[in-house]
Amino acid sequence: MNITTFTSKKFWVPGLLLVILVALVTLPIYGSLYNVILATSILMYIILAVSWALFSGSTGYMSLATAAFFGVGIYASALLLPATGQVLPLLVVVVLGGLVSSIVALGVGALTLRLRGIYFAIFTFGLVVLILELLNWWEHTVIHIRGRFVMLVDNDVIFYVMLAIFILLMLTTYFIKRSKFGLALQSIGENEEAAAHRGINVTLVKVITFAISAFFMGAAGTVWATKLTYIDPYVAFNPLFSFMPVLMAIFGGMGLIYGPVIGAGIFAYLQETLQTEFPEVYMLIFGIVLVAAILYLPNGLVGLIPRLIRRWRKGGLKQQHADT
């Protein structure tokens, strides 16, 4: 039985991924404009949740700096793709936005990754507020700018760039998890002290991962800015973008690579539709769903799948136990 499930899984997983990929790539052809915009924003949340989980899920360091890295990306767009005429091509700016976020993460990581637990969370959140207020002061009192406009980009283009970032992120996550580096990362999450005494340069591994995750957050922010078009510090460094990815990843479940994807996907879709269908009670319904999920799904949505499968074929499982 084991062999058959193994081979069928070998066919199913790539097959399913291919179908999803084709469906996404062709979305602008068969979908409406609303669908494309909705998919773009869902992808944006997925990117934030997955890249958050890439660092925080595996190391156990709760980062609330997502909004900072995302905002740095948004500002890269504001400066290099202004409505008055773009300085550099869109793709170059996206990569630059990601790189600048990475560099910020390298600096912040080297300084703060010795902090543990709640202290790290508070510091990273402080970073968001610090950048926000500093920028606000700078724009108001030093250079006298109120808001910036980003050039208009075709919705299909925004969607495709977001999709490309998403695919790159999934490949990166997949290869990290399978690599020696991923094993080191996991060991840090399990027991950092023991990992250090097994010859792992824990600081380096943590800082590099923090920077990789920040790259994708920054890149997503850069594209997102072209959708926002109007930008000021409060829009770019909205603290909500620090909390949402955490909720989404926990909602989906962090044990598996696709947990945050499913969590963020459903979460973002739910948020979007509830907001349009039931604008008055949307927050209420949303809150109830979230509370129920946290209470009854400790391992997130993906934790539900093995439980259902087990219930579905209890007989088969008993057989397996007898074998081992």
Binding site: K180, A184, E190, E193, A194, A196, R198, G199
Partner: protein
Amino acid sequence: MRILEGEGVTKYFGGLAAVSDVDFHVDQGEVVGLIGPNGAGKTTLFNLISAALVPKPGVIRFKGEKITGLKPYKICRMGVARTFQSVKVFGNMPVLQNVLLGSLFGMSPGMSSADAAREATELLEFVGLSAVRATPAKDLTLANQKRLEVAGALATKPELLMLDELMAGLTPTEVAQGMELVTRIRDKGITIVMIEHVMKAIMSVCDRIIVLHHGEKIAEGTPKEITTSKTVIEVYLGE
């Protein structure tokens, strides 16, 4: 040849001297026991050697090279491995991966994953855990977790292995197995420093014993000398 030596090693926690002005040395191929009542500073001394803590003042040398102030991973890669008093395994990782980690990141980090896997398998056999190689480490018994920790430490290919209370909490049978394991590790040519409270274990496997009390070294010698030492008996049993 002296593989490890410490000069005037001292560590204060606030006003309390956890380890105070301790000189010690370990010769290549020896099994050295570190004993003393609770709070004597044994684990602190271990932490100072493995760089979890930095002595102030004091110097520790490994194979003649000063290692004070280095990061733990560097010291591990130089050839010093350790286990912890409260077992530290990677609970959610399978047993084999726990050991693999040491092979991949220890003394020879450039090793191919196939070689590392083979070596990890051999080490599991060495400590007698081959049957549970796919089990998550947290599901093992205490005795097996301790063996796993030893296997993981050995995977880093140390020249010096430090065991912090390997026998604590084990049944008499398990203690006997533990002693046998220590002997086999020594036979591989690995120098061992061990903290131990189980006297039977320490007396039979150690070549030399160092006794700490209130952070100070009060005695040093062969097991026989230690059991007959008046100071040691006073410390353990009162006057």
